[in-house]
Symmetry: D2
Subunit: 351 residues, 4 copies
């Protein structure tokens, strides 16, 4: 049993971490912090968990690094970017292992961080130490990490389908387009006019493009996979569902195809590429036949669905992925990294 | 052409007033006020109306009673209770006619107001002057009013089906139960955690019972109709739609019925009562045959649907009503009263 | 490990049974039948379960009683009423234990069945044998049952809050009103115009009243609790959520109350009644303080939330309950009964 | 006053035509046909219109070409493709003017029709006669047309933003990508499992790609604008809203840009192109400043919102459009063409 704490447990990914860690067979959840709810029981704040003995016993506390370091071996940070680093620095010094769900340690370059997040990086000395928390790609590094920077929701939906194709040279590193649709929980439990029910229901709209913050980690990781600088066109849209991201990727195969046999050959290569890379990845579902990703098949779980189509008319490869932005896109993925850090199987507490 | 202004035009009912008054054939909308949007054009703040020449020309201003009195003959107040009275006092003194959408002038008793709204009434001397803005009931009084206190959304859904039955002595004045379901716009454009998309979607919940503020006007009007003090059981629920109120009323017929012929006789009396009372009410739709109210048949319009069933097993009369809380429950009804004040037909600008 | 089969596994409650039984630690799911999907793998038909080894291995088959009796000890019937009985008769003769999710064996009287379901009961000789599958009320009888008639969704939301009050004589058996709101999955995976997205979204409507079929079991069970014939006013409404039932009950306390001290006294009695009766019921959540039921706190789980308020103005007791119509209202409750039949704890495989 | 009929008035676009034509100041709606509802009054089938005198008087009839030709001068066909042509042939011979909302006469080539709709064209001799019903592009031809093939919903969302840029040579005719999101009414009032509330709510999914039928008209019209064969990548997605299409277009500017001044120069050219072309198009809203299209700003009306962004990082032009698939994407656009055919202003009966 690992002693575990959550700092910032009152947002949507904090709440999901509470759910996952309360039911995790190898975890004792010893502390959850929230400035807003300090003093209240978890069962009060999240009636959904009221039946769980842990939720009845546990109370939210004010965050305090020294105390947390005594209470837990591994600490999840579910805080806004900028704030996460403030806790990461002392907690690492006090010997804790960290899984950070914020964007603070995802990019390797403090300059890139500043470009996209518009303030100086609060702890640049830790950037090298941090491991990018995408378990399907960095399992080995996560195993030995003391600081995991859990990958973002949009980035996960883009990187898992694209990295294998780039590594195998099946697609060109240029001209990549990612068109993403996200449920409203992606905005966090943020009390803003834009996220009121009436403003979101019966509405669909793009936002935050063409230079969304998540591009910093997306392009970093694709560039590493391609071994050349990759620039991505990324357009997120807000759609009226609670959860789920659906990403449509427009990719250019490295080799031209137009005949049926060329198409079949390429199709088999793509299939083989994915099957090989994800053979031992329990959360990656490669769809077959006519099946296409649908967010309703993944919400609530830590899975990503991936399907692809070759279009002989345009010469493009279109890949579609679907995941739950709060689970595989945030808290579930963080627990998956935690499992790897602890030597548990990926799926412990997640299926 | 009447010169008209709206004070507090940035909430949902304010926005709907803008829509209705911009397209009203007998209205020149000369001023709209909003502290938050002062200086901006209506077309910017409400892109929905961007094509309308009026919306392109008109800018939001800070509310100023003296200026408004020069700009408009009739002024709609779409302000929170308590605040509305602050504008009503000077505007009436300056000779304007007012249609107030708040609850400030709906009850006749300052004591009842204080009991339900928990603060002293800000202008008790105006209570007698005000006419309750339920056109189907108070058409004559509205015609000559200088201050119309437009009826609330839940009250309208309860009063229109119940008042005729009480007046005709068809139901007992005791034991009335109103169970209501409202869309989220009923909470106004209020930036609170409770009204975030993720908190409302895939959720249904009761709130504000057993003593909701709207009971003050509901019981006042039913008591007048029954000529005896009426107490009502009222339970509102929040449901994940933008607009619409559906109210289910549980009523006790004055005379017992159990045989088929007694049921038929009573059924004909109820039908005759409604048909007579609402013969000249263009916005009341009495459903026939198997048809039942559905909010989707009334949203966007100023109609109320009413249907009823007698239950021989329980001896009760069940009446169901549906309306759009922002139109017949607020802005449409206010415009209907305005039409009557101006000598226009009820439906001018509303169909 | 119990060998278990599901007959009619392609509807919403069938799908939920598959989910619950695949992850049940004491169950081996050996057969699932569906005329429509016979031959296809569970993983194909329900992509949501595609990761589960059981779903990859198991194929839907045509229903065949003799074969099923060889494959399973306990069989869940998730079939329409009328059809369920056709399978129940031979399966019981072949020695299987049955948990039937249909309405076929819920009422004790073949005449009442005919009155409400408008056809002769297909197997009246089994009615006496069947145990009503409401575990919080009939735990002892379920333990030894060979045929459990799992309680309906609306009935569960009404009976669990009402039976204890009637048994303790805290409320009158007359004048009970249940106003219920249900998500669209309550209609089953029924391909009808009424249940299309566009017909349900942004819509709220009553249906099937005043004499809904579920009244047959509701009144039967309340009459047993009250030891006198009970007639109930029940109005169901369809609301645009996938899952969840919220029921508002209007009840008349047996003793009049009006003073604060009478109210407090009665309030304590109600609280004590519920706490005593449900002390050992892991799925009943009695809400305290200001908390009110919300379907979003129960969807996905087997819990029922219950809260109550006394209204000194009207003299009524209002009780509100919330549950997931597919879990506590159908498949979860069926598994709970199964657990009791097998001597497992109620919560096995359900939390 | 024009005498007008609607053939196939029971689907979503048929219903919207009824709404628009009942309130059209220059139209007398003399006949509406529906096999399913023949004999019933419009007010019964569509309770939403129950207040309209026309809806109370008018009954659905069986479709009969000879009778229709006597009843109406202009006839709207709101029928499935393949079926529409069956009525078009005799009605044209009988001297009626037609506005066809189906896909039957949108493409000029019977071979292309067969390729995309998988059956022989039912009346190829009419293809040349038909005018493509996109009023902003073909106003002059529509004026004199006897057969208008009203443009499809997705095509309108793609063509209006793209055609001017191609005509002015501002973008390359190659590599065009259109990623579209549509509300469920786009599927029509089709009673299929896929469109049930529970299957669509809390779900997002792609469908019908990479070779959707609408590509036939999209590519035909873009090729005409570009004066070269254009192939388009088009991916439609189904999202849980009743109405609305949001399309994100990924376009390659004809001239490379990377510096700020090149970007500004191109930006001004794009703005000038749109402003010039759509100066007299009352339904095209070019958004300015920070504003981005949102389906909630266009649903219920005949407008299309268009905004664009240049991305110096990728060298692409991204254009976003939003419209109501049932109004500007179907019935509103059809009425707009009708207005032009009759010599009315575009906006008659539409604002």
């Amino acid at each position: 049993m690992k002693k575990v704490a959550i700092v910032g447990a009152s947002g949507y990914s904090g709440e999901e971490l509470v759910r996952l860690l309360l039911q995790h067979p190898r975890v004792e959840l010893t502390a959850v912090t929230s400035r807003q709810y300090a003093g209240q029981k978890v069962a009060q704040v999240f009636p959904k968990f009221a039946h769980h003995p842990g939720a009845k016993a546990l109370r939210f506390t004010e965050p305090n690094a020294e105390l947390l370091a005594k209470q837990a071996e591994v600490i999840f940070l579910a805080l806004p970017h900028g704030v996460a680093a403030e806790y990461a620095v002392p907690l690492l010094q006090l010997g804790c292992q960290l899984v950070d769900l914020s964007a603070d340690f995802r990019v390797k370059s403090a300059a890139v961080y500043k470009e996209f997040y518009t303030h100086d990086h609060p702890a640049p000395e830790l950037l090298e130490k941090a491991v990018y928390g995408l378990p399907e790609v960095y399992r080995e590094q996560i195993r030995d990490a003391s600081l995991v920077a859990s990958a973002g929701c949009y980035p996960t939906s883009i990187l898992l389908p694209t990295i294998p194709l780039l590594r195998d040279g099946l697609i060109k590193p240029t001209g990549i387009i990612a068109d993403s649709l996200s449920g409203v929980s992606g905005a966090g439990r943020t009390v803003k006019l834009d996220y009121l029910f009436v403003e979101c229901n019966e509405s669909v709209r793009p936002y935050g493009f063409p230079k969304h913050r998540h591009l910093s980690e997306i392009e970093q990781e694709l560039s590493l996979a391609a071994e050349t600088a990759v620039t991505v066109q990324f357009t997120p849209h807000l759609i009226p569902v609670n959860r789920g991201i659906l990403t449509t990727l427009y990719l250019a195969p490295a080799n031209h195809f137009s005949t049926a046999s060329e198409l079949n050959e390429l199709s088999e290569k793509v299939a083989a590429c994915y099957k090989t890379v994800y053979a031992d990845s329990p959360f990656v579902r490669l769809l077959e036949g006519e099946a296409l990703p649908d967010t309703k098949n993944v919400t609530g779980g830590n899975f990503i669905e991936i399907a692809w189509r070759l279009d002989a008319r345009t010469g493009r490869l279109i890949v579609i992925s679907a995941l739950d932005n709060i689970v595989k896109g945030a808290s579930g993925q963080a627990v998956q990294s935690f499992n790897i850090m602890c030597g548990f199987s990926d799926t412990t507490g997640l299926v």
